[in-house]
Symmetry: C2
Amino acid sequence: MGIVSRKEREKEEMRRLILEAALRLFREKGYDGVSIRNIAEAIEYSPATIYLYYKDKSEIFFALQYEAAAVKRDHLMPVASIENPWERLVEFGRRYVDFGMKHPDLYDLLFITLTPMDSIENQECWQLGIAIHAFFAETVQACVDARYFKSTDTETIAYTLWCHAHGLVSLFIRERMRMYPEEKREELAKKSFAMMVKMAESL
Amino acid sequence: MGIVSRKEREKEEMRRLILEAALRLFREKGYDGVSIRNIAEAIEYSPATIYLYYKDKSEIFFALQYEAAAVKRDHLMPVASIENPWERLVEFGRRYVDFGMKHPDLYDLLFITLTPMDSIENQECWQLGIAIHAFFAETVQACVDARYFKSTDTETIAYTLWCHAHGLVSLFIRERMRMYPEEKREELAKKSFAMMVKMAESL
DNA sequence: GCATTTACTAAACACTGTTCATTAAATTTG
DNA sequence: CAAATTTAATGAACAGTGTTTAGTAAATGC
């Protein structure tokens, strides 16, 4: 292997170094709480060096959002092997909520953060997200096809289920459950999920 | 009226001036997109003057969050006059979603923004929010008492309904419905609300 | 009229994202 | 091998941020 490929490898290593430092810092202090200077300090390089590997702060954000989408995919896609569409759907939902609770910063990155959403459609992370959503929509369609619901409005069913799951996770991780005592919050979330499953059964 | 009361009045007018400029700017550019200097420029005072009326930027945020909660209360509380608890609940939900769609920045302020939530329990805005939530919980309780649901787990029912409504609004205003064509999004939201009402009927 | 309080601000401090000229090292060329 | 060139990294700067402080000028109290 010539020096060209070594250079490329080193460049890739540097990008990883930046990304890992950024992810760790973002998890600790949030996107706005971390500066390029903080990241540079963490990897013991000058701030200007970061700009040799990423165009700006938002590009680091996009790269991390892709990582987050990949973690989410690995967390959810195992349910693809479940034959029964209804069981597959329920397990998908359970894992979606579980992902949000276990990785609040990644969930935030994917579904709440507003930052630079302008050209997101062109980003890899978006493509990955679309693919996972498509799998979800197909699973709902499979349930409709197998007459698991009275309604046949697949799109609305899928969206309604997503709304509930997203509301569940985002109220939790954005600290809007303070009217419930800390130790009851997770239990309430579990009960609500179960209730939604029951409601969906008679949908 | 002595000059003391005039001074107080002037102080109050100044606070209003700051708040109105801040609210307008926050709506246009978001909390992070607006600087103290921007607000100062808008009201034609120096940045330091702002600090004579508000301790820091987060106090302006709290004041605005209180205004937002008041707008929300005015938008929702008229339903208190609806006698039938189920009709009251449905109308409350409709207006909750409507408030979020009509005032995305206020909704954001109340239910999504993370900013300085540390000591929020002591803030007026939180008390107001708690009161509105309590009214919602009481309405659900009234429905349970009147046997509108099979389930009697009031807390979980209320929370589940809230999750769905919040998910609906927050996915919309945080731009996570891009997989649906722009012109279909609001219709989908309406359909989903209707579906949730139907589901709740058979809860 | 003079002392005091009030209202306000210019300037500074320590940050931020980002750019650019410069340096030092690695690589290619003669 | 030495000279020329490309590459990698940075120090310093620019324009912005939230916030504090010292100082001024006007309004008020005596």
